[in-house]
């Protein structure tokens, strides 16, 4: 899986308006890493620029976001005990969308380029906070009230976004474009932050992997099996939502990755989260990168990535789902 993911990075780096060979890519990266120019002897001078400053930030961001969404999907599905859950179930995406729309419409430029992602992030985290407050009662958070609270807050925020679009006039296009998701404006500064939080979130998720398995038995059982269910649930929810918020704020709303990747991988490796988490992270990275490369380099015009993932992911998922049903496997 890891090899596939790395191969996907290198192959997609070569694709685009200017073709670059895989070997040249490795040489250019080696030059940057070692500072030794002899690695890239004989390569045209524009290629390193295209690769390092234009393509790689976008590619790495796409892979990291794919990994993050898949990771959050596994966690959400595990905690909410609901295979339909995805990183957006709790309304985190609506919060981010509302924040971003607000930033676009009031045209905040004080913070320059980062103002939209920043507002999106604040919106997402604020939503998470409200949803968790709304759904906790006497220190407990139940899966059902969480989903319900998420739906309620999501509905309110959607109405808010519609209102903002209505008020936006000519900026409505910018909002719509942001909502559909894109990696076109990815740049290096976002990468370390994304990388670091993904790393931390994966570590937390792996730490609680077995607990997450046991939590699928329901709270009474997991409590009596030695899992601090209430606390673990909160920690994992905040972790997954933080990652989702970060992903949404750099890329807009990209659907389906967080929903289908955990499912597909569960077909492949079973429900054990200790295996499911790592393979989903790698598969999410590969899949979203492939989708982004498709829209960037293969298709004649750039289709919004969120539209593309849903267009390809939906039928694909339907196909696998049907096949699984025909084979007599139960899938609830």
């Amino acid at each position: 899986m890891l090899v596939t993911a790395i191969a996907a990075v290198i192959i997609s780096a070569g694709m685009g308006y200017v073709k670059i060979g895989a070997f040249d890519i490795i040489r250019i990266i080696a030059t940057r890493l070692t500072g030794d120019a002899s690695f890239s002897n004989g390569i045209s001078e524009t290629l390193p620029y295209v690769l390092m400053d234009v393509r790689l930030p976008r590619i790495i961001t796409a892979a990291l976001v794919g990994a993050g969404l898949a990771l959050s999907g596994v966690i959400y599905q595990g905690i909410l005990l609901n295979p339909l859950a995805d990183p957006y179930t709790l309304g985190v995406s609506s919060g981010a969308a509302f924040g971003a729309s607000l930033a676009i419409i009031i045209n905040i430029s004080a913070l320059g380029q980062v103002s939209t992602p920043l507002f999106a992030f604040i919106g997402a985290i604020a939503t998470l906070f409200v949803v968790m407050r709304l759904s906790s009662f006497e220190g407990q958070i139940s899966a059902q009230t969480l989903i319900l609270s998420g739906v309620i807050i999501g509905a309110v925020l959607s109405a808010g976004i519609s209102l903002l679009k209505y008020l936006a006039d000519e900026q409505v296009g910018v909002i719509v474009f942001w909502l559909m998701g894109s990696f076109a404006s990815s740049s290096w500064p976002g990468v370390p932050l994304l990388c670091l939080s993904l790393f931390a979130a994966s570590a937390i998720a792996f730490f609680y992997g077995r607990d997450l398995n046991i939590m699928s038995l329901g709270r009474r059982s997991s409590d009596t099996l030695g899992v601090e269910t209430a606390r673990t649930r909160k920690i994992l929810l905040v972790t997954a939502s933080f990652v989702t918020a970060l992903c949404v704020s750099v890329s807009g709303i990209i659907g389906f990755i967080g929903l289908i990747v955990p499912h597909l991988m569960r077909f492949a490796v079973g429900p054990d989260n200790r295996k499911l988490l790592p393979v989903s992270i790698l598969a999410g990275a590969t899949l979203l990168l492939a989708a982004d490369t498709l829209t960037r380099a293969v298709l004649p015009a750039e289709v919004p990535i969120g539209v593309l993932t849903a267009l390809i992911g939906g039928p694909f998922f339907g196909l696998i789902f049907r096949r699984k049903q025909r084979n007599g496997s139960h899938y609830e």
């Binding site: 398995n213 046991i214 009474r220 409590d223 009596t224 099996l225 079973g270 609830e332």
Partner: protein
């Protein structure tokens, strides 16, 4: 009887919001006994088990486990002392029987440790005791209700605890499977474990439990051995049902006959 109770409960009370479900429950539970908790629907039986198992926090009163306040135990420490077999069981994802039974070893295995041979043996022995060793690799969702419930009992056995709670664990099973599970529980009690079971079928409770707690409206109505706790008077008072209680030679236990039909 052991000198120290495994559970010592004093003036226990609990409420959901403003609705009081349990008040002033005091009792002591000792290892080596099979306790039955009986009472009408909604009388607080399951809540009592939840409180004893540490799934809920009491509103008032104290629970001590082996002399130490329950609140002082971490979930992990507690899970090495007691296990719970729930009635209905809904697993979110499709784990196999063996994976599910192995979850019973969770409180004994360190966070990043792999299960040891000892853990595998315990899981294997639990599956054998329930007669489901042949189903080890099957996903839970492919099992019948009886097989699934046995897998859950096996999980609790694998947990290897002194105390085992059964919350209506046999209510949805046919008579053969119900008896099989109750006999396993009875043998465990004889080997020195402590069993506490919420049981709806009074005949089974009278036959298998050696001490009963009868609950009504969140209080302990009476307690004692079957001959004391299950009488026609108690049944009339607690369940508002006419019954006749007598010794039955064939079942070798107290048995209850109910008046089934309304007077015409």
């Amino acid at each position: 009887m052991n000198e120290w109770p495994f559970f010592a409960v004093k003036n226990l009370g609990f409420a959901y919001g403003k609705t009081v479900v349990l008040r002033d429950i005091s009792c002591e539970l000792y290892p080596g006994h099979f306790y039955g908790i009986i009472g009408p629907n909604g009388c607080g039986k399951t809540t009592l088990l939840d409180l004893l198992a540490g799934c809920k926090k009491p509103a008032s009163g104290t629970i001590r486990v082996q002399g130490r306040p329950l609140a002082d135990y971490s979930k992990r420490e507690l899970a090495r002392q007691l296990a719970l077999v729930p009635q209905e069981f809904d697993i979110g994802f499709d784990f196999t029987v063996e994976e599910t039974v192995m979850m019973g070893r969770h409180p004994h295995i360190g966070r990043f440790q792999a299960p040891t041979a000892h853990d595998w043996n315990k899981a294997q022995a639990a599956m054998t005791a329930l007669g489901i060793e042949g189903l080890a690799a099957r996903p839970l969702s492919s099992l019948s209700g009886g097989q699934r419930q046995r897998a859950i009992v096996a999980r609790a056995l694998a947990q290897d605890t002194t105390a085992l709670f059964f919350d209506e664990a046999t209510s949805s099973l046919d008579v053969r499977h119900a008896l099989r599970i109750l006999n396993i529980a009875r043998n465990l009690a004889r080997q020195g474990r402590m069993i506490a079971a919420v049981i709806h079928n009074l005949n089974l409770a009278a036959a298998f439990c050696d001490y009963l707690f009868v609950m009504k409206d969140g209080r302990l109505f009476t307690q004692g051995e079957a001959a004391v706790a299950i009488t026609a008077e108690v049944i009339a008072e607690v369940f508002q049902t006419e019954a006749e209680v007598g010794w039955n030679g064939f079942s070798d236990s107290l048995q209850i006959n109910y008046r089934y039909f309304d007077a015409a």
